[in-house]
Symmetry: C2
């Protein structure tokens, strides 16, 4: 039986990943400090004998605290929404850095394969569209989003150098907007905001005129990309990224379908015809990226992967989750 | 008597700063792991009763290891030349991060004023010239220079967030190319390379055609900028940078005079007429910035400072130092 470590395992993506791995027959150890993750996210599989939950902060763990050997390590621990990371900026930066170091040191110790969850935020307010992996990004080092953006950028650097120095079998994904059940209802991001507002019959808040676009990836597509990526042999990874002129294995994962924020609001209301919510418009916050859309050519080529879940289908499931967990109880 | 802490105090810039502070009547504690710094750099003032040297690595120290209270803290510890940081990339990133965290925690504990030595490298391969403080930089997260560039970028983020969260009285300088006595002879940078090659009558190596430009600041000008910057009251700092639309106090310090690399080589040989060295041309390494030049408008305005030492004068002193320390002994 293979054994996997998932840091951030009680979070939105981490808990879905744990469930997928358990379904594939893995033994899974999840670590989470429950800052944004919840025990409720684990209920569907908490009783599975292959599952262990460790409530701990990755900034306070040493590799020896987690008994291996692990075959696979997933570095997912980090607050990821502006509402959460701006409340604790220094902690967020250190979680990004020390969380990935913990995983890298365990992967090095155990000869494990590692997947690091990077982010489209490393592109910042991008100068080119869509974003592809050779873009270096346009990020402010001293702004209020920097704690997350720069913490994630230097985490990529550490992964790249662990590969060069210690030959760790690591790979990175730059995750674009992802949504679905188990999203945090107060994470302040647009899909959870719109769905919660529509369910509560509150005004649906659009910042700016709503013409800015976003791309939305359903979580199942992302977890599938994780699993396909982790199945690729190290030698194949190395030659693929070298051939593409990239200094380390990093691919975008996201849904390239673009929607305006206004269209997303209208789609949400269309799926909730009983809602009495109306659209209202407010000024755009500073440092908010005007547009972001992934180029997923590399993921298609390397993994034979592309997103399959249409927005309407994903939204229906997300609405059902929020109604069940946060309204009807 | 005021007390100052200088991390990286046995390095090129750190040791000059210690000497200046001692000359101004400060009690000085220097911390250095001697990775690129040397005890020889301290000889001029090691016997000064106000001076204490702590041989230690900033990544292994806690604030309690350094007895305060300090009035001023200078965060200078980090390998800064590609030859040194590329030999130990992970260590370099962690030194940048943990070094500044140590200083920030001490400044917070003691209510000390802090100066963080950032770098022009945070601009990467810049898209605009000259560089001014609002530029966000163009940096590769996964290349062979990233360990330094991204480590320094996230260090700026940590300083900015310690100011926002804990109201630490910190300020940052983005230091452009600086040269002078006590530069490491093997640091691989252009002035030390050219001077050592000319003194040894070896070929002077120019990468590319030598038309790329650099700006060179003599260390005395930089140390003067440090001292002037540290004399400015916190309230003045806050209102100045807010008025300039910058999220944290950061100024460029460098000499805006531009020289081609070829002109620098010719000037070096002109000052060493007895040298039999010839110019030779080799291919440019990857990721080498094509051009970098500081906009020092903010430093002029805030500090009434600009570089005063002409290149020829600084080069004469640098040549004398290298001849004395590394050739005639």
């Amino acid at each position: 039986m293979k054994k996997a470590l998932v840091t951030g395992g009680a979070g939105f993506l981490g808990s879905h990943l744990c469930e997928r791995l358990l379904g594939e027959g893995y033994e899974v150890v999840a670590v989470d400090n429950l800052y944004t993750g919840t025990r409720e996210n684990l209920t569907a599989f908490a009783a599975n004998p292959g599952f262990t939950f460790v409530e701990a902060d990755v900034t306070e763990l040493a590799p020896g605290d987690l008994t291996g050997p692990f075959d696979e390590v997933y570095a997912l621990a980090c607050p990821a929404s502006p509402a959460h990371y701006q409340a604790r900026p220094i902690f967020t930066t250190l979680t990004s850095i020390q969380g990935v170091l913990l995983c890298l040191d365990i992967a090095r110790r155990d000869g494990a394969r590692l997947l690091h969850a990077s982010t489209s935020e490393i592109y910042g307010d991008p100068l080119v569209h869509p974003q592809e992996e050779h873009n270096w990004g346009n990020v402010n080092t001293i702004g209020i989003r920097s704690c997350y953006d720069e913490g994630k950028r230097v985490a990529e650097t550490l992964v790249a150098d662990y590969i060069r120095v210690y030959d760790v079998d690591a790979r990175m994904v730059r995750i674009f907007n992802t949504y679905g059940p188990k999203m945090h209802p107060q994470d302040g991001r647009v899909i959870s905001n719109f769905v919660m507002q529509a369910l509560r019959n509150e005004d649906i808040t659009i910042y700016g005129d709503g013409s800015q676009t976003r791309s939305f990836q359903y979580f199942e597509d992302l977890i599938t990309a994780f699993r396909k990526y982790m199945a690729v042999e190290k030698s194949v990874i190395r030659s693929f990224f070298t051939a593409h002129g990239l200094g380390a294995p990093v691919i975008n994962t996201g849904n390239p379908g673009e929607y305006t924020i206004r269209a997303l609001a209208e789609k949400t209301l269309e799926l909730l015809p009983e809602s009495t919510s109306k659209l209202v418009f407010k000024p755009l916050p500073s440092d908010d990226p005007k547009k972001r859309k992934p180029d997923i050519t590399l993921a298609k080529e390397l993994l034979d992967w592309e997103p399959k879940v249409p927005l309407a289908e994903g939204l229906v499931k997300t609405i059902a989750y929020f109604r069940d967990r946060h309204i009807n109880r």
